[in-house]
């Protein structure tokens, strides 16, 4: 058979391409497509649009294109219309990143030993411990934060304990960044422990033995073998903790007393009492942009790490 004959048969015999609605996966994925579309992508576009609109006199907004929302993040508009640099919101953004970063670091320091300990247990106990780590998720987050208010607040568990130990009475640990941080670390901890545990669990124990065998002490083994090999889990945990921490609302509001604001509570304030929807939307968009930069940076680093020389 010649080449041309082959081509001719291939052309005529080819079955018509099935329409996409004949494909089962189209219907299988339809619910999640609709959900993502209506509950995630559409709202993002709405917020993006609102951030570019004009603030309404009594809340809400008007569909007039306006960059005032974004401008307000860095500049204050005086009575005469001149722009004056105000660090007020920049401070909140900085505090947000500092608190979220601190939360991530503290979670990491606590989670690595915990995850390592769990991974060393016999299978039955391991399952129980992993279950215990996830246990806080079974209680509403607002209750968990309130529990910390009871522990740290005036006449709370900790001040009373300190009082019986001879410290001055009536101490309170509430309404500062420390209190906010405590609650943030507490609520985020399982999100760090679980991925770190998963990657330590996968780590081949003989590699640790090989490191000791080749004259590596515990510290060298941790730094040169355990940490590099569990890096994917650590990065995953860091993202899971850091990104939601940037949008924390409950902890700064309840524990920080609302005065030490974070971006999340600032956004909430603009849509609520502040009645400045375009400004709230603009901060939300700015936060999202910063998160995207962080994620892209991490993804690029991971890709470079994966690449073989």
């Amino acid at each position: 058979m010649s080449d041309t004959a082959l081509h001719a048969t291939a052309g005529t015999d080819r079955a018509p391409r099935p329409r996409f609605w004949h494909d089962l996966s189209f219907w299988g994925l339809l619910p999640s497509r609709l959900l993502m579309g209506f509950a995630l992508i559409l709202p993002i576009f709405i917020i993006a649009a609102v951030s570019l609109a004009t603030r309404g006199a009594h809340g809400g907004f008007a569909w007039d294109f306006n960059l005032a929302g974004y401008r307000q993040i860095l500049f204050n508009e005086g009575w005469t219309g001149e722009l004056e640099f105000t660090p007020q919101y920049l401070l909140i953004i900085t505090r947000t990143f500092a608190l979220a970063g601190a939360t991530t670091l503290i979670c990491l320091v606590f989670a690595v030993p915990v995850a390592y300990f769990i991974s060393r247990q016999p299978p039955g106990r391991k399952a129980v411990l992993v279950y215990l780590v996830t246990l806080p998720f079974w209680v509403s987050m607002i209750l968990r934060v309130y529990a910390w208010m009871i522990i740290l607040g005036k006449d709370g568990t900790l001040p009373r304990l300190l009082e019986t130990l001879g410290f001055p009475a009536g101490m309170s640990f509430m309404f500062n960044d420390g209190a906010t941080l405590t609650a943030m670390v507490y609520t985020a901890m399982p999100l760090m422990v679980l991925p770190v545990f998963a990657s330590i669990e996968k780590l081949d124990g003989t590699l640790i033995e090989a490191s000791h065998d080749l004259y590596g002490n515990r510290w060298v083994t941790l730094r040169r073998v355990i940490l590099p090999l569990t890096a994917p889990g650590i990065v995953a945990g860091a993202i899971l903790v850091f990104v939601p921490a940037l949008g924390a609302v409950l902890e700064p509001t309840l524990m920080g007393g609302g005065k030490q604001m974070m971006m999340g509570s600032l956004i909430q304030l603009q849509f609520g009492g502040g009645r400045n929807w375009p400004f709230g939307a603009a901060i939300a968009m700015a936060l999202m942009a910063l998160v995207m930069i962080f994620l892209i940076f991490t993804a690029l680093r991971a890709a470079r790490r994966e690449a073989l020389p």
Binding site: T206, E209, A210, H212, D213, L214, G216, R224, L229, P309
Partner: protein, 355 residues
């Protein structure tokens, strides 16, 4: 003899299971020493104790005369080639080999030349910048060897390093390991369950079974003069015959075989009168016109042609015997199934063991 390693009355239990029951032996300097035994015999536990990953419940371990039980693995001048190789997957081959040297605090220049030298020695110089995932099993094996030998350890421990390789490669690696051991003069302690590997490579073999040392000796001693049934059975093929010891004198025993023949054979391990076991290796039993020594008659009930040699199963007055015969010429395999042929073995090649 200068002892590289001395193991003295070492015992170890895991829960109710007693892995080692007061084991003692010594390993000489520059020796290729093999611990051979079935799985669960305690050989891996012993090796891990020499490396420092396990500690004995009682007893002591001396490395060049120095007690090491309390010394952690990273302070022992002992390196291990792991069964799974345990190469660091995130490091290049170069970095893997350099790892131990860096931890020992060698200078950069010295590390560099030593790493190059070791990679050349295992014929992996061209792949220095690759990562372990890009290597074949045999290549990983060689890197594991280079990494363990680079720091010039006093003793090299090898935990079944050939078991993951295919047959051809395994044979080649045996020779390579033996050459490396001779060239470096480092004491090798090799763990395996493969008796052929042990016989091929070792200066001396310790056969372990049930948490105890069954016998220590050269490969020929282990094979030709097994001290008990366990060793005779585990190392190589053999025929066990229930015999009765009639008389013993000067390391010789006069015995009666189940098929009626009485003969005098070596009995170094066992000298009590009464019931005993006679061990005769299949290749020591000769058939047809080659039959010599103690000769009797047997019928061929089964044969397995293996090319170079043929395995025969014989019926000798109700007792089953296995014999193997080298097919020395094109007409080697000539004895037909069902034939009754003369069967014989030289008395000195059989051994009496405790029943």
């Amino acid at each position: 003899m200068n002892k590289a390693i001395e193991v003295k009355s070492v015992s170890k239990s895991f829960g109710a299971y007693q892995a080692l029951k007061s084991v003692s032996f010594g390993i000489g300097n520059n020796e290729f020493f093999t611990m051979l035994g079935p799985s669960g015999c305690g050989k891996t536990t012993l090796l891990r104790m020499l490396a420092g990953f396990e500690s004995p419940d009682s007893g002591s371990i001396l490395l060049n005369g120095e007690e090491v039980v309390a010394i952690p693995p990273h302070k022992r001048r002992v390196n291990t080639v792991f069964q799974s190789y345990a190469l660091f997957p995130h490091m290049t081959l170069e970095q893997n080999v350099a790892y131990g040297l860096e931890n020992l605090g060698w200078e950069q220049a010295r590390i560099k030349s030593r790493v190059g030298e070791m990679l050349e020695r295992v014929h992996m110089g061209a792949m220095a910048r690759r990562k372990p995932a890009q290597l074949s099993g045999g290549q990983r094996q060689r890197i594991a060897l280079a990494r363990a030998l680079a720091p010039e350890p006093e003793v090299l421990l090898l935990d079944e390093p050939l078991s993951a390789l295919d047959l051809k490669l395994r044979q080649a690696m045996r020779d390579e390991l033996r050459t490396l051991q001779r060239d470096t003069g480092i004491t090798f302690v090799f763990v395996t369950h493969d008796q052929e590997e042990a016989l091929d490579m070792s200066d001396r073999i310790a056969v372990l079974g049930g948490g105890e040392v069954q016998q220590i000796g050269t490969p020929a001693e282990i094979y030709e003069e097994p001290v008990n049934r366990f060793v005779a059975d585990f190392v190589g093929e053999t025929n066990f015959l229930d015999v009765e010891v009639l008389e013993t004198a000067g390391g010789q025993a006069t015995i009666r075989t189940p098929f009626g023949v009485a003969l005098t054979v070596p009995a170094t391990g066992h000298a009590a009168k009464g019931r005993a076991t006679l061990s005769v290796r299949p290749e020591k039993i000769n058939l047809g016109d080659q039959a010599q020594g103690v000769v009797f008659e047997g019928r061929i009930t089964n044969k397995n042609y293996m090319g170079g040699y043929t395995h025969y199963t014989l019926d000798v007055a109700g007792t089953e015997l296995r014999a193997s015969r080298r097919n020395a010429s094109r007409e080697g395999d000539t004895i037909p199934l069902g034939a009754t042929v003369p069967v014989g073995f030289v008395a000195g090649s059989a051994r009496v063991l405790a029943a």
